[in-house]
Amino acid sequence: MTDEVLLEARGLTKSFGEFVAVDGIDVLVRRGEAFGFLGPNGAGKSSTMRMVGCVSPVTGGRLRILGLDPAVDGAAIRARLGVCPQQDMLDEDLSVEENLWVYGRFFGLSRREVRARTDELLEFAQLTDRRHDRVEPLSGGMKRRLTIARALVNNPEVLLLDEPTTGLDPQARHVLWDRLYRLKREGVTLIITTHYMDEAEQLCDRLVVMDHGRIVAEGSPRELIEAYSTREVVELRFEDEQQERHLGSVEALAERVEALPDRLLVYTADGDDTLAALHGRGVRPLSALVRRSTLEDVFLHLTGRSLVD
């Protein structure tokens, strides 16, 4: 990572009529970083990404990408970006390789360059043996990999990934994460939006938590967990009606308790100790699970709501 700032936003705002989608956010992303926007649906992540991708004019504030102003140099910026949108947006009537070929030409690559890039990217996306197949019948994971490969056709300096693994099965997600690590190692700057905390933890060096168009916290996944949560969490489930009765005794023994409709989340430095102390007080849950804090807990603490609803 260098100190070169690739993305700079100051008081960045986006409104659609009365509705404020992005409400004055400040963001700095440096070359080589993997930076994440974490938040629930409707938090303003995609609106932010569309402004960064130079396909949505800024309503207010300052935005610079690669040192350039998207209102003036949109095409010059887009020539150096790769964009993997939330929906695949492939031409499903064309073959896998035709999709790459067509897109490479959109960036003004010569035929020869497109051919060479196509071979490399099919290898990268593990689609070499499907290169002549039409896109339409491919699996969701394959289409996603093709979309990412297509976003890389111009050898971008910054890759924007909007919800890259939403809708994929666990195995396909891991294959995709593996490809993204590889890009990161090669020095590509990644800017990712996600509402999956495990994805943010896996991929991001640094992230901001967004809610209602604002940034509510910023840091590395570890820093955020240290700042806004405890080391461990005990999840307690009770028989019907019992949860409320025990809430008082549980709260007395924990740093913080979140009461969800179906369970209590007990925040504490040492889960096993807390669990033993609860047993000592006669609290008998149906089940008890001790786990590490995650970004989900950070989000719950910051907003009082879950990421995935």
Binding site: F16, G53, V55, S56, P57, A75, A76, R78, A79, R80, L81, V83, P85, Q87, M89, L90, D91, E92, D93, L94, E98, W101, V102, Y103, R105, F106, F107, G108, L109, S110, R111, R112, E113, R117, R150, N154, N155, E157
Partner: protein, 280 residues
């Protein structure tokens, strides 16, 4: 310079880190056109067959069927046989229909279904490039279809003059006068139901009352202006004059101007609607 050096295109410089050479308008439009040609490559066989068959159907029905009746009953239209009267009109009519059709489902598809236009705008290409790329392939398709229609009909003696070759550019322009405004509509609507409504309540009356199948003088006076409200009426008159090798005077330029104005207004609307839809 060595021979091999001239054969190898220089690298574009657009894969390097840092600022990259901007694409010129011609390059951008060629790239957009390249996409549509790829798609067309998979479907052209079917469409070419239908291009040859459609004039044959019309010639059989109008020339042999209806034409025989009209010629026997009233001795043709004016000095002409009904075949020679009606085929130039149908040339303009099929161009209008094709222009409309090509700007409906395919355009809505790229905007809403596979969303390739949104993907295109993430590259250095812009709305103008998308429009020029798509419309130039659409225009080529119109020109080829009209040329085939004229060529096949000529074999059956449907035209009196070689000037009928002018029907190809006139057909192209008439088709665009339907395609470009329809593009604007496709860039606005959410569902394809609208296309059915447009076809039944706009296209069909336009096609019937534009002087395609019978002279406008047959209509009551108050209905005649219908023909001049849409570009098809103007296209039909121009095509018919070309087929006769007759110069109708400066009024031809007025007909042409109406068609060009419709295309220009359609362009402005299509550009605005596509921008609103995809770059908001």
């Amino acid at each position: 310079m060595r021979a091999d050096a001239t054969q190898t295109a220089p690298p574009s410089g657009r894969l390097q880190p840092g600022p990259r050479p901007a694409m010129r308008l011609g390059e951008r439009v060629r790239a957009a056109t390249g996409h549509h040609l790829r798609v067309y490559r998979r479907t052209w066989r079917g469409s070419v067959i239908s291009r040859f068959l459609s004039p044959l159907f019309f010639l059989a029905a109008m020339g042999l069927g209806l034409g025989a009746l009209v010629d026997a009953g009233s001795g043709g239209v004016g000095q002409q046989s009904y075949l020679q009267f009606v085929v130039p009109g149908i040339v303009a009519y099929q161009a209008a229909l094709l222009g409309f059709g090509d700007a409906t489902y395919p355009v809505l598809g790229y905007i809403k279904w596979n969303r390739m236009y949104a993907a295109t705008l993430a590259t250095p290409l812009g709305v103008t490039d998308i429009l020029l790329g798509h419309l130039s392939v659409l225009a080529a398709n119109l020109a080829v279809a009209t040329a085939i229609f004229v060529g096949v009909s000529a074999l059956f003696g449907a035209f009196a003059s070689w000037w009928v070759l002018l029907a190809v550019p006139v057909g192209l322009l008439t088709g665009l006068a339907f395609a470009v405004p329809t593009f604007a509509i496709s860039a606005t609507i959410e569902t394809d139901n609208v296309f059915g409504i447009l076809y039944r309540f706009v296209l069909t009356p336009v096609l019937l009352f534009s002087g395609t199948f019978f002279p406008l003088e047959q209509l009551p006076g108050w209905l005649r202006p219908m023909a001049w409200l849409t570009p098809l009426g103007h296209g039909v008159v121009l095509t018919r004059d070309a087929a006769l090798g007759r110069w109708p005077g400066p009024v031809a330029l007025v007909h042409l101007l109406v068609i060009v104005v419709v295309i220009a207004v359609g362009w402005v609307l299509a550009h605005r609607q596509l921008t609103r839809r995809l770059l908001s």
